[in-house]
Amino acid sequence: MTTERNVDRRSFLRGAGAVAAGAVAAVGVAALVSSRAGATDQLIARRHEGDLPVDDPDNEAWLSLDHFVAPLLMQQVAPPQVSELAVPELWVRALHNGTDIAFHIEWGDAVVNDIEQMSRFRDAVAVQLPVADEPDAAAPQTSITMGLAPIPAAGGQPETPGQVVHILHWKASWQWDVDHGRRTVKDIFPNMHNDVTPEGLLGEANSVVFYPGVFAGNSLSARERTSPIEELTAAGFGSLTTHEQQLATGRGVNERGRWRVVIAMPMDSGDRSKARVRPGARAPVAFAVWDGAKQNRGARKQYADWVPMEVEA
């Protein structure tokens, strides 16, 4: 981790960077709040006629809704953890049209971190829902630890079934990929020069073996990006897995020092390993947020405990 000591010792390398960061922070002081409506203490997914404004976080349909304030906690259940609360709260709004449900999540973050590279991490936000046959009843029982792994039968005790959660994860870096085309090394380091590259020598298809993440089919390494949101499931810390079926859509923008991110999914994808949400019922949801500037990533995050969301009939 970067410490004061590091800064002192290598300040000769970093003087210019510090000046640049200061300038960005100064801009952040002028952060404004986008809301036109007030706060509410109940998260309600309002029914919306027609298509949801999935690609438009500034849409009047969103900003005219009251926002639910989800207070955030530092992830301090298991290491690695954060020791600083980088984001104290999220503002959440929700809409559905009977087919799809969308969340509008807003928080203050003056410094945009949308690059993933060595020693740099991106801003991100996630929505979590339990995967259950009767989702309405799942809230109090589902662990906040991203679900639970099943406990195998032992000592005459039968197996304790695990708890699976469905996670929709928006990443600022993926948003950049979607908006501008996948970010390459040239975008991060414009003066980078390669004499010879595997793709230059062997062609795109044959060179894949030299890109292990791509070869392994890792979602992070995907060459084509159509959505900034990844759908995953988990059964306990450390078990996060990309779901085979990727249907989530959305968009995030950062304006005046605030991220506003829309995350949408089908209310019933037809896949039993994903969460389902029914009009007229309650659905528990939880949230997590990462501040790339504070080296948040993975378990180093802020999270909001389960919220009983009412889904309008």
Partner: protein, 376 residues
């Protein structure tokens, strides 16, 4: 936290997972006394594994000049800052490893290099430990002013810091040979491993957004061959093979012989607690205090043994087997003036004369009426 046995620090220690040694553990001997800093190993590795975009800064193998060279910048200075001076009581390390005495937020005591730290692979190259004054002359060991080349790869540690740091078990140690690999399917790019590895040998791929590390050329090892950095080494400073588990010694195995019998090759920064599996012969001309910090309490005995190699036919014989064959040597034998390397079944791989014929010219050449320089 489990309690595991770490023979390099002479005690048990805390580690997140129970002791689970592989069936075989790959190990290397590096001899910095012979390294010429030519970086052939670095290029052999780079041109084999890391020539893709996103890997530009990655040197799974690098060679840095000690004391002022490091890649990334200051990696071992940071480690020493974090750990403090090593407290040894004989062969027992009394201080805390990177897995012990941690704040609740961490799985490993680590630090993450900055982007700029990866930008100077040859910083400090060939810089000496102190200025050489006019007329300085170093007839004795150690030299008053020194530097040495430290070749570095992933240590394929028995208790890897990278594995301890990863919150999702995306890094694993192969049971068949102890090689440590990042599962490219499971990696989520958190770089906790890059933060947790004390040797800074896990690196983030800026293109694929996952971390990658030295793979010990496992496709070669699976065929019984030594890795690229070993077989390409111009100075013949490297030997790769398998080390027996603690408590077992096979004196015919060249790795065991050098590490366990003669104790001439030592782990680097053993106090970190990862039980690294690259063993170094301390450079005999370098400052002893510095070497003791880097290679632990066995330095003085190792140097005494090494400095006497010319009178030690068996030791000399093993050293001549370095860089003599591509196949992994599981056993060796000295037959008079011939050193013989053998495979697992005792079949001969290579035989090398322990002493090459040499001729020393007279200082003054009577025929040409000129003085000779004997430069080799």
């Amino acid at each position: 936290m489990a309690e595991v046995n770490n023979w390099q620090i002479g005690r048990t220690m805390e580690y997140p997972y129970p002791e689970n040694r592989p069936r075989r553990q790959i190990a290397w001997i590096f001899d910095p006394n012979k390294c010429i800093g030519c970086q052939t190993c670095t290029i052999a590795c780079k041109s084999t594994w890391t020539w893709g975009t996103g890997q530009e800064y990655m040197l799974w193998n690098n060679v840095e000049s000690k004391p002022f060279g490091f890649f990334p910048v200051g990696w071992d200075v940071e480690l020493m800052n974090a750990m403090g001076p090593a407290k040894w009581n004989g062969g027992r390390y009394e201080g805390e490893t990177i897995f012990e005495g941690l704040p609740p937020t961490e799985r490993v005591r680590g630090w993450l290099p900055d982007e700029e730290d990866w930008a100077f692979p040859n910083i400090g190259e060939d810089e000496v430990s102190a200025p050489v004054k006019q007329g300085d002359y170093f007839p004795d060991l150690p030299h008053g002013t020194w530097f040495y080349h430290l070749a570095r790869i992933c240590n394929h540690c028995t208790y890897p810091g990278c594995i301890a740091a990863c919150p999702r078990q995306a890094i694993y140690k192969r049971p068949e040979d102890g090689i440590v690999l990042v599962d490219q399917e499971r990696c989520r790019g958190y770089q906790e491993c890059a933060q947790g590895c004390p040797y800074k040998k896990v690196m983030f791929n800026n293109n694929t957004r996952t971390t990658e590390k030295c793979i010990a050329c496992f496709p070669k090892v699976e065929q019984g061959l030594q890795p690229q950095c070993v077989t390409s080494c111009i100075g013949r400073i490297r030997l790769a093979g398998f080390i027996s588990p603690p408590g077992q010694v096979n004196p015919q195995n060249p790795i065991d012989y050098l590490v366990k019998v003669r104790k001439v090759a030592l782990p680097m920064y053993p106090q970190a607690g990862t039980e690294p599996n690259v063993y170094y012969i301390p450079p005999i001309h370098a400052g002893r205090e510095y070497l003791r910090q880097m290679f632990g309490p066995g330095v003085d005995d190792a140097i005494t043994t090494y400095a006497n190699t010319k009178n030690d036919p068996e030791l000399l014989g093993v050293f001549t087997l370095f860089g003599s064959a591509e196949r992994i040597m599981h056993r060796f034998r000295i037959d008079g003036e011939i050193a013989i390397g053998m495979d697992e079944n005792g079949a001969e791989i290579v035989r090398v004369p322990v002493r090459e014929p040499s001729w020393v010219r007279t200082y003054f050449d009577e025929v040409r009426q000129a003085y000779n320089h004997n430069i080799t």
